[in-house]
């Protein structure tokens, strides 16, 4: 890469680019992370006590987590719900991406993409609020279901996890649709036709031809959606009930309500580790490398 850059831009410019990239990585990514990890291994102290005798490395922040059953439960619930969100988003996005890539005419595809993207011009919080309104006890969704005769009394969507799940699928669908679309779009349509021609029904054609080809895209979409879901704050805060708290909300509380940054840092670090584990697992399951995902 160094050589490619040098051939294209010449030595001085290349040095400038590479050092800027290096500085950016160190200052914006590595240092803050390091700072956070460092925080997480220290007890929470008054400013005066910092650097003093009490300022030692310790695992107490982590011990707190593992001894707090509620927090553990929320942690695992966050994992499980994020997996669920990822799976739901995949199920919703796959047919959409396939339609966009292989069925729709260019005009239809453009219109459909526009309809998908336009809501994302609005801030995530506002978009989530829209769902809050839709899901409200006396909101339009209940009215509609009632009018259709499907229910005889309003449902409390915002009570359990339904609101959070729907809100998140909606919030992150683009991050799933685009990688899928790119992957499916690059499949030679004749492959699909060949499979059909050899007698495969639609199910088998997708299972044996389209999905294997789209695997890197599926992996990328799943990783992005999972990380966004696991790290989401606005959606569970707005659409969730006290019973469906997200791990990010606990972290938030440590930082801004508990005032214990060290404890918060430990929790945040755990979330980071979780995401790394998930990414690795997905890459294993789909047998794809980092290079495939970066594509």
């Amino acid at each position: 890469m160094w050589r490619q850059l040098r051939n294209r831009f010449g030595l001085p410019l290349t040095m400038a680019i590479v050092s800027l990239m290096g500085i950016w990585l160190i200052v914006m990514v590595l240092l803050p992370q390091w700072q956070m990890i460092d925080y997480s291994f220290h007890p929470s102290l008054l400013p005066a006590e910092r650097g003093g005798a009490k300022d030692v490395w310790s695992l107490t922040n982590y011990a707190t987590f593992f001894h707090n059953e509620i927090h553990l439960a929320i942690f695992f619930k966050t994992i499980w719900s994020s997996v669920l969100v990822t799976a739901l988003t995949l199920i919703v996005s796959y047919p959409l991406a396939y339609y966009l890539a292989k069925v729709a005419t260019p005009g239809q595809a453009a219109l459909c993409l526009l309809l998908l993207i336009v809501p994302f011009w609005i801030n995530e919080i506002l978009r989530t609020f829209a769902w809050y309104i839709i899901f409200a006890f006396r909101g339009p969704l209940n009215e509609l279901l009632f009018a259709l005769g499907l229910i005889d009394r309003p449902i409390r969507f915002l009570n359990g996890d339904t609101g959070v799940l729907v809100g998140m699928v909606y919030a992150y669908i683009l991050f799933m649709v685009f990688p899928l679309y790119n992957a499916i779009e690059s499949l030679d349509t004749n492959q699909i036709r060949a499979a059909r021609d050899l007698g495969a029904g639609w199910g088998r054609t997708h299972r044996r031809i389209v999905i294997p080809h789209a695997k890197p895209g599926i992996a990328t979409g799943c990783i992005m959606t999972f990380m966004l879901a696991a790290g989401s704050y606005a959606v569970p805060a707005l659409l969730g009930s006290p019973g469906s708290r997200w791990f990010t909300q606990i972290i938030y509380n440590w930082f801004f309500e508990g005032g214990d940054w060290n404890q918060g840092a430990a929790y945040a670090f755990l979330l980071l580790v979780l995401c790394i584990v998930f990414v690795t697992a997905i890459m294993r399951i789909f047998k794809v490398g980092l290079g495939d995902i970066a594509k």
Binding site: R193, A195, R196, D197, G199, R208
Partner: protein, 380 residues
Amino acid sequence: MDGRVTLNQVAMRFGDFTAIQPTSLEIESGEFFSFLGPSGCGKTTLLNMISGFLTPSEGSVAIGGVDMTRVPVNRRPTAMIFQNLALFPLMSVYRNIEFGLEVRGIDRKQRRDKADELLDLVALSGSGDKPVAELSGGQKQRIAIARALAVEPRVLLLDEPLSALDLKLRQHMRTELKAIQRKTGITFIYITHDQGEALTMSDRVAVMCDGRIQQVADPMTLYRQPRTDFVAGFVGENNRFPGRVAAVDGGMVTLDAGLPAPLRGHADAASPLAPGDEATLYVRPEQWRVGSAGDSSLRFGGVVQAEHFEGAWLTLEIALDQGGTVRAHVPQALESAGIESQLAVGSPCRLDYSPRGALVLPGVERGRANEESVDVAATA
């Protein structure tokens, strides 16, 4: 196993554009049938209607006498060899060939036996475990054939399958395809823009132009008795002499084309001509006898404009004294060798043809862009 294919007034329109004019045709079971025509004339569209990828705008397709209108692609007794082969790149050779059998729920052991048998047929035994990416162009071709044959289709549809291969391999594969067709007895419907392929392999050829079938005939008839101006120009080369019919006697027609001598040729029995009709006389390059400038037994004079050595023959472009250019082949057998020393570029020559080797068709086609045929005396 009835592999008869019947097209019954089949037409295809894309919006306002008619890709296939209403067409009726019967392809016999076990026949090697080709559709020949220039790129964009609708060959692939026609094939897609037989395979089921496209639903005809009008008319119907029947295979083995059974109407296919409501039969989806995956249930038709056809298999297709795609222009780009469309092998499954993520699967091994075995898995490619076995795909259609797996779909049909045939067990592993039987699948493998069938695949081995087919690999034998296409002379690639032992390469079943290779990934398809490791195969050469010719090998991929054979695997595509094996994969299609595995499902025991009654009709095999081939969409210009040899176009990606180099010349030598292409010629070799022609022989091979023909041999496979004989061995299996399956109806082959072959699409090509290459007349050499169509003529060498096919039992019958349909020549197409602008979504319309121009003529259906066996290769020899197609070459010797083209029915339309398009076929005369597209299949083989032809020199055109547009003019007016001066006399008709028996099967022979005399044409006035503005040349010093009247042109004679035999008429197509199916398209009768009367004196005064507009008509065109076609002379193939190999029908010309070319001689030195002093040879007065030859009726026409001209000047050699260019020559192209083609191995077995020499192609001369000769400007006729009366205007217009003809292409003539001078065979390179030893007996006639030596004549070309007198036929250098720029030198005058004489030439003539035998009326039995010339054909007259009604009508004068003007302004057709077709590099394969030469319009002579266009000013006449």
